[in-house]
C-alpha cells in the first residue's frame, strides 16, 4: 500500500467537476483501489457521490491510499492530478 497526504487548495473543495475527473483518473489505473480519508471517515474514491458528500474543503488535509496494481505509478499520477486540479 502506498500512502500520501495532500492539502486541498481549491476554494470550493472537492466539488463535482474535479471529483468526476478524479474518478476518471483512477479508472485509468486498472487494478489500483484508491481510498481517501479525512479524519475518521474513509471513502472509496471511485464512489463519486460519497466522495463529494465528505464535503472536503479548502485547507483540509486528506490521506490518499493506493492498494494493488502499480501502486507507485498510480499514487504519483493521483498526486499530480490533485496538485493540478485541487
Amino acid at each position: 500500500m502506498k500512502t500520501f497526504e495532500y492539502t486541498i487548495t481549491d476554494p470550493v473543495g472537492i466539488h463535482a467537476r474535479p471529483a468526476g475527473l478524479l474518478v476518471k483518473e483512477i479508472k485509468s489505473h486498472a487494478g489500483s483501489a484508491v481510498t481517501i480519508t479525512k479524519g475518521e471517515k474513509s471513502v472509496n474514491a471511485l464512489k463519486l457521490m460519497a466522495l463529494m458528500q465528505m464535503g472536503i474543503k479548502q485547507g483540509e488535509t486528506i490521506t490518499v491510499s493506493v492498494e494493488g496494481g502499480d501502486e507507485a505509478a498510480t499514487a504519483a499520477a493521483i498526486e499530480a492530478f490533485l496538485k493540478a486540479n485541487l
Binding site: 470550493v12 473543495g13 466539488h15 463535482a16 467537476r17 471529483a19 468526476g20 474518478v23 476518471k24 472509496n44 471511485l46 464512489k47 463519486l48 457521490m49 460519497a50 463529494m52 458528500q53 464535503g55 474543503k57
Partner: protein, 559 residues
C-alpha cells in the same frame, strides 16, 4: 387527402411531418416485480441510455460553449453509474423486488437527502443533480422522450394539449406548427405558437388520430385547416399563401412603429376591430393604434344566461389593461337580426334587420343595459375606455342612453366604486337616418364611428346576407360614400372625431377617398392594419383630393 378542421389560434402556414408529442402515461406505480433479474436488466438498459443521452448533451455543450460546459453533463454521466447509487438500486430491485422506476426514485432520494443535509451551499445544491439524473432514468424507463420530440427534422407537433412545463421544455427548433385535439385560444400552446410566430390549430377533436404519425401535413392557422397528404393543387395553393404570409411578415417588420401619415403629412388613426379579449394580441402584434370596435356580443353568446356584471367587468378590464392605456371603443350589446341569443327570448320577426335589435333592445330592457354599463364604467378605471351605441336613428335614443350612463355613474359614485371621468361616449352611424341628422347627433356625443356594412344595406335596401343581390349591393355606391362624407363633415363642425369601423375601412381602393374626406380613424381587422398603413404612407392627399370628392357626385357605373 384528408382535411381536418379546427380553430386557428395562431396564423401562418407550415408544412412538415405530423409528429405526436411523446409523454409518459401519467405517474409510475410502485409495485413488486415477478422477475427481479429482468427488472435489473431493464434498469441497466435505461442507465446506459441515460449515459448515452448525457454524452450527446455533453458534445452539444462542448461544441457550443466549450469543455467547461460539457463537464456538467459528464459529471451527470458519472453520477448515473455511481457505485453507491447503483448498489442501492440493485438492492431495491433484487432484494425487495421493487420495480425499477420506484427503485431509481428511492435511491435518488437517499442521495439527494445526503447532499441536502450538507452544511455547504454548493454541496446542498447538488441534490438537484441527483434528482435530475434519477428523473432522466425514470423517464427512460417509462418511455418518455426528452423534450417530447425525437425527430431529426422539424415537425408539426400534435397532442391533446400541452402543459406549461411541457411547452417550456420543447425543443423549439424542431417545431413548425401545432395541432391539438383540445385546448383553447389562451392555452399555453396557443400563446407559445403566437410568440414563436408559427401556426397553431386547436380543438380538432378525435379527427386527430395517432395513426397519422409521420404523414405529410400542411396546417393553415388562418383558416384552422389541417391537410394530410395534400394533393398538388392544394399544396400549391397553401404554399402560395405561405409565401404571401412571409411577405406580409416582412412588411410588418418594415412598417411597425411608423406613423399612419400620408406623404403630405395628413395623419389618420388606424385601430382594430375585435370580437374577443383574446384578439388583443393580434392588435398589438400588428401595431394597431387602439381598438375602434370591440364587439361585446361574445360575452352574451358564450353564456347560457345573461352574463353577470362581474363576468363582463373582468372581460372589459382585461382588454383595457392589456391595451396598456391605448383607446378601446367598446360597443354595447348589438344582437337581434342575424345574431340571435336563446335566453333573450326575442319574438320571431319577419324582418329582423329592421326589427328589435341593438340599442333598441337595450332601451326597452334597461336592466340588461344597466348591467353592461356598470361593468363598462367599472372597467374604465383600468385603461382608456370609450363607449359606443349601435343602431341609432334618433336623437332621443342617444339622450336616453346617455341618461342611463349618468345614472350608472351616480350609483357607482354612491357605492364608492372607482371609474374614469374621461370616458368618451359615441355612436355608430349605420342607419341613413343617423347620417342625415348627424349635424344634430354630433352635438350629443364625443365621436362617430360609421358602420358601413349596415349603412350600405339600409341605404341601398339590399340585404347583406342575401348572396343573390351581387351587383346591386355596391358598397362603393355614391349614396353610401356621400353619407360617410356628410357624417364626417358634421362631426368636424362640432369638433368631434369621425371614423369607420365597417369592412369598407380596410378597402384600399377607398383609402385615398377617406383621407380626402378627412376621416380621423379607420378601424379594421388586425391583419389589415399594416397594408392600410402602407397605403396611407404612399398617398399624396393634395394631389387626389379634388378629383375624388368631385367623383362622389356620380356613380362610376354611370361613366
Amino acid at each position: 387527402m384528408i382535411t381536418i378542421q379546427g380553430k386557428g389560434v395562431s396564423t401562418g402556414v407550415a408544412a412538415g411531418p405530423l409528429y405526436f408529442y411523446q409523454r409518459a402515461k401519467g405517474a409510475f406505480t410502485r409495485h413488486e416485480v415477478e422477475d427481479r433479474e429482468a427488472e435489473w436488466l431493464r434498469f441497466k438498459e435505461a442507465q446506459a441510455k441515460a449515459i448515452e443521452q448525457l454524452g450527446e448533451l455533453a458534445e452539444k455543450a462542448r461544441a457550443e460553449a466549450g469543455d467547461e460546459a460539457a463537464m456538467l453533463f459528464e459529471t451527470h454521466q458519472m453520477m448515473c453509474e455511481d457505485l453507491d447509487y447503483e448498489e442501492a438500486i440493485e438492492g431495491f430491485i433484487k432484494e425487495q423486488g421493487l420495480n425499477a422506476e420506484a427503485a431509481v426514485t428511492d435511491a435518488g432520494v437517499i442521495q439527494a437527502e445526503a447532499f441536502a443535509a450538507m452544511d455547504d451551499e454548493y454541496f446542498k445544491a447538488r441534490s438537484a443533480d441527483v434528482k435530475d439524473i434519477s428523473g432522466r432514468i425514470v423517464g427512460i424507463l417509462m418511455g418518455v422522450v426528452q423534450g417530447g420530440i425525437d425527430s431529426p427534422v422539424p415537425v408539426i407537433l400534435a397532442s391533446d394539449d400541452l402543459a406549461p412545463s411541457e411547452t417550456v421544455q420543447l425543443d423549439k427548433s424542431k417545431i413548425l406548427g401545432f395541432v391539438t385535439s383540445g385546448g383553447s385560444g389562451s392555452s399555453h400552446t396557443a400563446i407559445l405558437a403566437r410568440t414563436m410566430g408559427i401556426p397553431a390549430i386547436i380543438g380538432v377533436g378525435d379527427q386527430l388520430k395517432e395513426e397519422y404519425q409521420g404523414r405529410d401535413v400542411i396546417v393553415d392557422g388562418g383558416t384552422g385547416s389541417v391537410v394530410l397528404d395534400a394533393d398538388e393543387d392544394t399544396r400549391a395553393r397553401l404554399m402560395k399563401k405561405r409565401a404571401e404570409i412571409l411577405k406580409r411578415q416582412e412588411l410588418l417588420n418594415q412598417l411597425k412603429g411608423l406613423p399612419n401619415v400620408s406623404k403630405d403629412g395628413q395623419e389618420i388613426r388606424v385601430y382594430c376591430n375585435i370580437g374577443n379579449p383574446e384578439d388583443v394580441h393580434a392588435v398589438l402584434e400588428n401595431d394597431g393604434g387602439g381598438i375602434g370596435l370591440f364587439r361585446s356580443e361574445f360575452l352574451y353568446l358564450n353564456c347560457d344566461d345573461y352574463p353577470s356584471e362581474e363576468y363582463q367587468f373582468e372581460a372589459y378590464k382585461k382588454v383595457l389593461s392589456d391595451m396598456g392605456g391605448k383607446e378601446v371603443v367598446i360597443r354595447t350589446l348589438d344582437i337581434g337580426a342575424d345574431k340571435m341569443i336563446e335566453y333573450f327570448k326575442l319574438p320571431h320577426e319577419e324582418n329582423p334587420a329592421l326589427g328589435n335589435r341593438a340599442l333598441r333592445i337595450c332601451l326597452n330592457r334597461p336592466e340588461i343595459f344597466k348591467t353592461q354599463l356598470r361593468a363598462l364604467y367599472r372597467a374604465s378605471a383600468f385603461g382608456r375606455l370609450s363607449i359606443m351605441f349601435p343602431m341609432v336613428a334618433s336623437v332621443w335614443e342617444v339622450r336616453e342612453a346617455k341618461k342611463m350612463c349618468e345614472l350608472v355613474k351616480k350609483e357607482l359614485t354612491a357605492e364608492g366604486i372607482p371609474f374614469s371621468d374621461e370616458v368618451d361616449v359615441g355612436i355608430m352611424i349605420e342607419t341613413p337616418a343617423a347620417a342625415v341628422i348627424s349635424d344634430r347627433l354630433a352635438k350629443e356625443v364625443d365621436f362617430f364611428s360609421i358602420g358601413t356594412n349596415d349603412l350600405t344595406q339600409y341605404t341601398l335596401a339590399c340585404d347583406r346576407q342575401n348572396n343573390d343581390l351581387g351587383r346591386f349591393f355596391n358598397a362603393h355606391h355614391p349614396a353610401v360614400l356621400r353619407l360617410i362624407k356628410m357624417a364626417c363633415d358634421n362631426a368636424h363642425k362640432e369638433g368631434i372625431w369621425c371614423g369607420i369601423c365597417g369592412e369598407l375601412g380596410a378597402d384600399l381602393e377607398l383609402t385615398e377617398l377617406f383621407l380626402s374626406i378627412g376621416l380621423d380613424e379607420l378601424s379594421v381587422s388586425p391583419r389589415a392594419v399594416l397594408p392600410l398603413r402602407q397605403k396611407v404612407r404612399e398617398t399624396q392627399v393634395r394631389v387626389v383630393r379634388e378629383k375624388l370628392l368631385a367623383d362622389l357626385l356620380r356613380d362610376k357605373n354611370e361613366l
